[in-house]
């Protein structure tokens, strides 16, 4: 019989991880709630009142702000999900699907802010598209006076969100597919004469959707409360709710801080409301789908529909490639007058300009991202190893759901309170505080990346090692971890990329004393030099990319004489 570790030892990693994730979220929410009702002794507010809420609701254009947050968030989520579902339905298990998978996966590691800045460079009136068409097709010899970026309806912002959420939902769908019987059921449907897409929607999607529901809701919560993408691409008169809260918070007037916390509570209600609306939509869709499922209609001729389903994904990839190209060009440009399609001269001046001023930004970024990734890996390995040793993984599902907690609560709603708590503790603006806050978001992704490969390791290898006399620790260090080198490196790279992409946690917990390339690039994107903003956005891309390159090169070198591990994906 395997020796069971003592209860304390068994519960310790779970307790530590949940404390690190739920602790900041719950304490932060409490810290937001009290000032929202006027209670913030540090600022002299000690009487509970609804005044902060009244102040929010009497802000000019607040109704429109709320509507923008709700509308852009719901639209971005629904459209992203539709694009992913249609594409998967049309092309699952084809060469096209595999090729697209290869393109979409790296896009996931592009931080939101960098993607938004790059997109702005492509679609702005003075952007790449207009330049390529001018003046020969459009007749423009100066940028047209069109409000494409910051358009009042938030269409551009919605597009920017979609560009980032499609890769995320796509990869979540890819991960969910093998956990269902979808593959075999699709063959049965095809055999019964159903077209590819009809088969997918009638048979596979109902199995897959419950698996990707939490990621979808995370996208919804994120999109309804996003700050960085809204600042770069979103409307300004008025802006959606979340960026307005940040403005109130940054104001010197202490009364506005109470108003900001009321705004953060309102943001929470808004995101919960969006989730309720989504839930209602789910019920409606499943009603419609149920009657559709038993209609017996085969839709076997779906070639045209399948072609169409590939269009949005193709457009999206083209847009992201153009965005990255635009970033690269702008970071190197010495002069690029409208309507030239290409810079007149290239220079490394903007990159050289990073030193010495910008190098501490890179340093700070690494000083937060590296420890966050390493600590997350250590904690998640500790947890997974303990589950392996104690046998059945009963708590796995509940644990996974809890991992989504910080992704389902709007960041601003708990970060506001967390900032107050760190302030009281005297920790605000320290590396430890910022890294701990990043860890709240890094841990879930590291867990999602590592738990599947961990569970798929052949348990018989550990049994063989144990009968050869190897201790549990020796099995961990010389069998499990080396065999999992590749997924471990990938999970670390994902954690590193997630940390680098964090805008709001860095901005709020860093308290202006800690800035990273991400906060800097968002600050530069609105005003400031395009080229310098492009340099920081490029850095945002290159650092995670470096992580992923290492994650593929190190195992390739370590396993260069090990065929079985070189071939594994």
């Amino acid at each position: 019989m395997t020796r069971q570790p003592a209860l304390l030892q068994r519960a310790l990693p779970t307790a530590v991880i949940l404390l690190l994730i739920a602790g900041p979220v719950c304490l932060g929410l409490a810290g937001t709630l009290l000032p929202a009702f006027g209670y913030l002794p540090a600022l002299g507010g000690s009487v509970l009142s609804l005044d902060p809420f009244r102040a929010v609701l009497s802000e000019p254009g607040i109704g429109l702000s709320l509507a923008l947050s709700l509308g852009t968030g719901l639209a971005a989520t629904a459209i992203s999900l539709a694009i992913v579902a249609l594409f998967t339905a049309a092309w699952f298990e084809t060469r096209v699907f595999k090729a697209m998978t290869r393109f979409l996966s790296p896009l996931l590691s592009v931080p939101h802010a960098a993607a938004a800045i790059g997109l702005a460079f492509v679609i702005a009136p003075s952007g790449l598209i207009v330049r390529l068409l001018s003046p020969w097709a459009t007749g423009f010899d100066r940028p047209p006076d069109l409000l494409i970026i910051h358009d009042p309806l938030g269409l551009t912002m919605t597009a920017g969100l979609i560009a980032k959420e499609v890769p995320f939902l796509f990869l979540m769908t890819l991960a969910a597919l093998p956990q269902t019987e979808a593959r075999r059921h699709l063959r049965i449907a095809a055999n019964l004469g159903y077209g590819r897409m009809a088969g997918f929607f009638k048979v596979a999607l109902p199995q897959i959707y419950p698996q990707i529901r939490l990621p979808v809701l995370a996208v919804l919560a994120y999109s309804t409360s996003v700050v960085d993408v809204a600042r770069i691409l979103g409307p300004t008169t008025p802006a959606p709710l979340a960026p307005r809260i940040i403005d109130w918070m940054a104001d010197a007037d202490p009364a506005l801080r109470l108003q900001a916390s009321a705004g953060a509570v309102l943001q929470l209600l808004l995101s919960v409301g969006a989730i309720l609306i989504w839930r209602f939509g789910e019920i409606l869709c499943s009603r419609i789908a149920r009657s559709g499922r038993s209609s017996g209609r085969r839709y076997s001729r779906d070639a045209a529909m399948r072609q169409m389903a590939a269009v949005p994904v193709g457009l999206l990839i083209a847009a992201m490639v153009a965005a990255l190209a635009a970033l690269a060009l702008w970071s190197l440009t010495a002069g690029w007058w409208f309507p030239q399609a290409f810079p007149t001269a290239l220079t490394l001046r903007h990159w050289a300009g990073l030193f010495p001023g910008g190098s501490h930004l890179v340093g700070d970024t690494l000083l937060i991202a590296l420890p966050a990734a390493v600590v997350a890996i250590a904690l998640i390995v500790w947890q997974l190893e303990l589950w392996t040793r104690t046998g059945p993984r009963r708590r796995h599902a509940a644990f996974r759901n809890l991992m989504f907690l910080p992704l389902l609560v709007p960041q601003i709603s708990f970060l506001f309170g967390l900032q107050v708590l760190f302030l009281v503790a005297g920790w605000d603006g320290t590396y430890v505080a910022v890294a701990l806050t990043h860890l709240v978001f890094v841990l879930p992704y590291v867990f999602l990346a590592l738990s599947d490969p961990w569970d798929h390791l052949d348990p018989r290898l550990a049994k063989v090692a144990a009968t050869l006399g190897a201790s549990q620790n020796r099995i961990l260090w010389s069998i499990r971890l080396p065999m999992l080198l590749r997924p471990l490196m990938v999970a670390a790279a994902i954690g590193f990329a997630v940390s680098i992409g964090q805008y709001l946690p860095t901005l709020m917990i860093g308290a202006g004393r800690i800035a990273t390339i991400t906060t800097e690039s968002v600050a530069l994107a609105s005003g400031g030099s395009r080229s310098v903003a492009a340099v920081y956005a490029m850095l945002q891309l290159m650092l995670p990319l470096l992580g992923f390159v290492l994650a593929s090169v190190v195992p390739a070198i370590a396993f260069r004489h090990r065929l079985a591990l070189r071939l594994q994906r």
Partner: protein
Amino acid sequence: MADFPPPASGLKLDHVEIDLETRRLVTLDRLVPPGEVLTVMGDSGSGKSSLLDFVAGFLAPAFRARGRIWLDGVEITSLPPQERKVGLMFQAPLLFPHMSVGENLLFGLDRSKDQDRGQRRTLAEDALRDVGLAGFFDRDPATLSGGQQTRVALMRLLLAEPGALLLDEPFSSLDQTRRADLRNLVFSKAREKGLPILLVTHDPDDAEAAGGAMVRL
């Protein structure tokens, strides 16, 4: 009731009963003397693998087992798998894919002895030569044939100096001719070292070649 004193040598399965929920899977009370084979036959789902898991110390909590296991006069029923000294061979050779052939063998070779690096390597190389794989020390296990891998797995097991062998259909992945060769190799090695063997299989040829007692689940 248990026999006292327990036999001083061999593998004794002392009134072993294994249940899954309300279903009795295994009832067994046998002594496997050194160098002999006890063949357990049964269809899949009959509890063959649970029996091996019980003896090796891996039985999942869903199963309930009673009875005791003695190896060479020592009760091992509640020892952790690491201390039982029963070697396990599965259907697949399960060489560790991130280690070379030699490293796999060194993983099995007991470390508590005072041998230096060179002596350990010599022992591993001798073991390879012993099964016709001289010079394979630095090879990648993935480049070996199935039969070669099984031979390496056997030597990895023997270098750990087990007191008994548990074989879970270890030849089923091999073709007919190799199967006979390997079967003979494993049985002769076990006999040479005086190891009792518990063989689980559904292949009647395995049972016949083993030559010892046979039970059906």
